[in-house]
């Protein structure tokens, strides 16, 4: 009887070399505090912003890949408020005329519409002694982050479940990474998400007040925070409690939201056009230049994988969902020369290991060369498919080549027919009852014999040869 209504406000740091309005480096994760700063990004008197053309291009690129409309006329505005992380006392943003209008991402077969995307600048980073600002004796400010270009992406309230919100964010991250627009790394703050949620009572058509959740810093927490908030609001409604329009923060440790400020405490940002920057007029030529920079995107890539590698559509979609994974796949195919084999191993073995170990493709130790080697070991009958699957976790864990592992563990397949014949004869001697049943027509028992041989050889027997010898011996007797 309740319907959840969710809209997202997302900030993505754009992957430019220099800041949005000055030439300082955007490097701020590893850098020592207050190294990449200048008079402009620390708000010294008399300084003026100059728009970084690279940031502009990345904004256009994002607009294009998210199916938005690039506005040929846009403008910068000032958002005024006092806070120590805001060096000028205002943030340069685009309030009245954003650079992109519209757009969408498909989530679970539904179009989640994007309302607008606009360029703005990041704030400085504050470090509070102790955990919380309220109890801190001292706060330090690192201006390395101040002025890094951000693209704010605002969705329509089209999202209906916390899970959809998470998927939207994951898809967005993948698209941004694909197009080299942003690292999309939520944990590092390169992608940030604020969520607005309200609940519609479908019986009486009443809609709850809207709550905004801030500080969500992982994809998992997007879903968790919204689930928590959805339940909290519904609980409140059921109890007949009064809900207030407020901004809440997500506490990742306690796994709950907490009130930050109510609507009455909201600031008046006194937006007005930024007089220091000219109006932004874009021409078709620039937009087309940017369009040409867009690489193959997931949907196109999946289609190509199906036709080029002859793999099922579902597999192709998974492989192309992440750009690094897709690149990894293609490098493996190039070396192993068997698209189907590689996709099977990646989809079943590799992705399972990655999930269990919470790894990303960048940190995987297995090299594409290892896939080629594994395929070679299989093709030369050095190991069986079973052994290949068995050693995979070790390849994953150690990064050792499959050859090394096979040699170290003595897992080479038993190829020698005489040797095999001896082992099989022994197995048959111990299972005379079953031989009888087999001869009486229970042909399925062949599998049982194979199993016994494998057990005896710890899986090293060449399966084909084992089959052949078994059949021969069983028919003869």
């Amino acid at each position: 009887m309740y319907k959840t209504i969710i809209g997202l406000e997302i900030h993505a740091q754009l992957l430019t070399k220099s800041k949005a309005f000055c030439s300082c480096s955007t490097e701020h994760f590893e850098a020592e505090p207050n190294i990449n700063i200048c008079p402009v990004c620390t708000g010294q008197p008399g300084t003026l912003p100059v728009l970084n053309e690279e940031a502009l291009k990345l904004a256009i690129k994002t607009g294009l890949i998210l199916n938005g409309q690039i506005n040929k006329f846009s403008r910068f505005d000032r958002k005024n408020y006092f806070y120590p992380d805001l060096p000028k006392g205002y943030q340069i943003t685009q309030y009245f005329h954003p650079i992109v209008s519209g757009g969408y991402i498909d989530v679970e077969g539904k179009k989640i519409r994007i309302r607008r995307m606009h360029l703005e600048e990041d704030t400085a980073k504050m470090l509070h002694e102790g955990d919380q600002i309220s109890s801190a004796q001292e706060s330090l400010i690192d201006f390395n982050r101040a002025g890094i270009p951000l693209l704010e992406i605002v969705t329509e309230p089209d999202i209906e479940t916390p899970k959809q919100a998470r998927i939207f964010m994951e898809k967005l991250r993948n698209l941004l990474r694909y197009a080299d627009v942003s690292t999309g790394d939520m944990e590092k703050g390169a992608l940030r998400c604020d969520a607005n949620i309200s609940i519609l009572n479908q019986e009486n058509k009443e809609i709850s007040k809207r709550v905004e959740i801030k500080n969500i810093n992982s994809f998992k927490f997007v879903e968790k925070a919204l689930e928590y908030e959805r339940d909290r609001i519904i609980n409140n409604l059921e109890k007949g409690g009064e809900l207030i329009q407020e901004t809440r923060g997500w506490d990742a440790n306690k796994k709950e939201t907490f009130s930050m400020r109510t609507k009455e405490e909201e600031m008046d940002y006194r937006y007005f056009p930024e007089p220091d920057l000219p109006i932004l007029i874009l021409n078709d030529e620039l937009i087309e230049t940017v369009r040409k920079l867009i690489p193959e995107m997931p949907e196109e890539k999946a289609k190509r994988f199906v036709s080029q590698y002859n793999i099922p559509e579902y597999d192709a979609q998974i492989l192309s969902s992440d750009k690094e994974l897709a690149d990894y796949y293609e490098r493996c195919v190039e070396l192993a020369k068997d698209a189907k084999f590689v996709s099977n191993f990646i989809l079943t073995e590799l992705l399972r290991e990655m999930k269990e170990n919470e790894d990303s493709i960048e940190t995987v130790k297995i090299k594409p060369e290892h896939f080629a080697e594994l395929k070679m070991l299989l093709d030369t009958n050095t190991i069986s498919t079973k052994i290949a699957k068995d050693i995979f976790p070790e390849m994953y864990r150690t990064g050792d080549s499959p050859k090394q592992i096979v040699e170290k563990k003595g897992l080479k397949q038993i190829e020698n027919e005489d040797e095999l014949r001896k082992i099989i004869e022994n197995v048959l001697k111990e299972n005379t009852d079953s031989i009888e049943k087999y001869k009486n027509g229970k042909k399925k028992l062949l599998g049982f014999f194979v199993g016994q041989v494998m057990k005896e050889t710890k899986g090293k027997a060449n399966p084909q040869k084992t089959n052949e010898i078994l059949k021969e011996l069983l028919e003869d007797n």
């Binding site: 010294q44 008399g46 005024n80 120590p84 006392g89 006194r270 007005f272 007089p275």
Partner: protein, 453 residues
């Protein structure tokens, strides 16, 4: 004597000596701070003074405010850098109304400036220090900034030439922002020729200021026009704003002089001009309220300690900013508040556009618009008029800022022993034309009217 006459001489020590001797009573120079120009530059050895809202590395930039009393400039403004490269030497920074807000120079945290031509009177403002310094003969020229008349009005009050170029002619990089869409660096000098020389050096597109424009005409060279070919428009508003009778009488003398030289002078009704002061006092404080937010005690400048962030902000700004600055921040904050934005800021911007269009239309038929620079003569120090009376003193200078037009104030005789300035407003980005006409006018002005004291 012009700058060209000084080339090859070193008059820096002489300049500094004069400041030490005479400025105790005038208070136009806040600090003597020497930043030497390029030794190979053509003008090496010639000193100038810089208004204390323009940054020069090696000097403080206080903006006439307690909040920046100890602020050292971390870089040099583009305009100053170009002058240093040409050889000129900075010898100090001049007094001003705090953050360039005011037109009498009484709103400086470091005491008022006295008018060298009458020590009981104000030198005008906000660039009163720079105007007085040239009038007192310390330096051949100085830099000021003009947001609503802050170069032209003190030039008129002190009897020197003051020029505000077209918006975008000179880089604002390094000029402390008051009202970004109106601010422009300007020049004070004893003659129009020096103004032309200095502006020509400073002008041009600056990659650090996106609002600058390329200008390819040489400002020092005359365009082909003499006074007899000059068409001048006088807006009717000159006569029905409460201008001083003596000012109007002197203005009539200018008209007669120009007509005697063959110039065509018409009086026209330009009703849009009457909204200028209203538009200005909506837009300028709005932009100022935003521009001055950075003086918050966090990064540099004054910090008055108090427990809690908001209390620190309050103590710092309460103690660091003067009454006029606070008044304008309050007005600007109100004008931009979401409830009143459409009614004030947005509407004022539209009327500003109408005014620009009207000016353009008028200047299709005329070379320039002429007014007295100020409707009044320099008031006495401490006269204490109501804020609105001071605001109305800018009525003739404000339009050029709102429309971005170049405008110049040129001395023309005296009124009861006090300097009088005439203002020419020219066509946007046609500074070469305005300066040619101004120079023609200045050269043909009878000598006794140039040196009236």
């Amino acid at each position: 004597m012009t700058l060209d006459d000084l080339v090859g001489k070193n008059v820096i020590e002489e300049s500094i000596k004069r400041i030490y001797e005479r400025d105790k009573e005038i208070n136009s120079v806040l600090r003597i701070e020497k930043v030497e120009g390029n030794k190979d530059g053509n003008y090496f050895g010639i000193p100038f003074l810089v208004k204390d809202n323009i940054l020069v590395e090696g000097t403080k930039t206080t903006n006439g405010s307690k909040i920046l009393e100890n602020y050292s400039s971390p870089y040099t403004a583009t305009a100053v850098e170009k002058l240093l490269k040409a050889g000129f030497t900075v010898v100090g920074k001049t007094n001003m109304d705090e953050f360039a807000m005011g037109n009498t120079n009484e709103h400086s945290a470091f005491g008022p400036v006295k008018n060298p031509k009458d020590l009981k009177r104000v030198p005008g403002g906000s660039s009163g220090g720079s105007a007085a310094a040239v009038a007192a003969g310390y330096v051949p020229f100085s830099l000021g900034s003009d947001t609503g008349g802050s170069v032209r009005q003190p030039a008129a009050f002190c009897g020197v030439v003051g020029f505000k170029p077209s918006y975008g002619m000179i880089s604002r990089y390094g000029l402390t922002a008051f009202s970004s869409s109106l601010d422009q660096i300007g020049v004070f000098a004893n003659n129009v020729k020096d103004v032309r020389t200095v502006t020509e050096i400073m002008k041009g597109k600056d990659p650090k200021d996106s609002t600058t424009l390329e200008h390819d005409k040489d400002l020092v060279k005359n365009v082909d026009i003499d006074l007899s070919q000059t068409k001048i428009c006088i807006p009717k508003v000159v006569y029905h704003e409460n201008a001083d009778d003596n000012v109007i009488k002197q203005f009539e003398r200018v008209i007669n002089f120009l007509r005697s030289k063959g110039a065509k002078v018409d009086i026209k009704d330009i009703p849009e001009l009457e909204y200028s002061v209203a538009i200005y006092y909506i837009i300028a404080p709005a932009e100022a309220s935003s521009n001055l937010s950075r003086y918050d005690g966090v990064k540099y400048g004054l910090r008055n300690h108090a427990l809690g962030l908001n209390k620190m902000y309050k103590a710092t700004r309460e103690g660091g900013l003067g009454i006029e600055v606070k008044r304008r921040i309050m007005m600007g904050t109100f004008n931009l508040s979401s409830l009143y934005y459409d009614q004030y800021y947005s509407k004022a911007s539209k009327v500003r556009k109408l005014l620009s269009n009207k000016m353009k239309e008028i200047l299709n038929d005329y070379h320039l618009i002429m007014t007295p620079t100020s409707p009044v003569l320099p008031p006495k120090i401490g006269e204490k008029l109501k804020p609105l009376d001071y605001y109305l003193m800018d009525i003739f200078t404000i339009p050029a800022n709102l429309t971005g037009s170049p405008a110049i104030s040129i001395p023309f005789g005296d009124v009861q022993g006090l300097p009088f300035g005439i203002q020419f407003i020219g066509r946007y980005m046609k500074d070469e034309e305005l300066l040619t006409i101004a120079d023609n006018f200045f050269k043909e002005t009878p000598r006794e009217l140039k040196n009236y004291v």
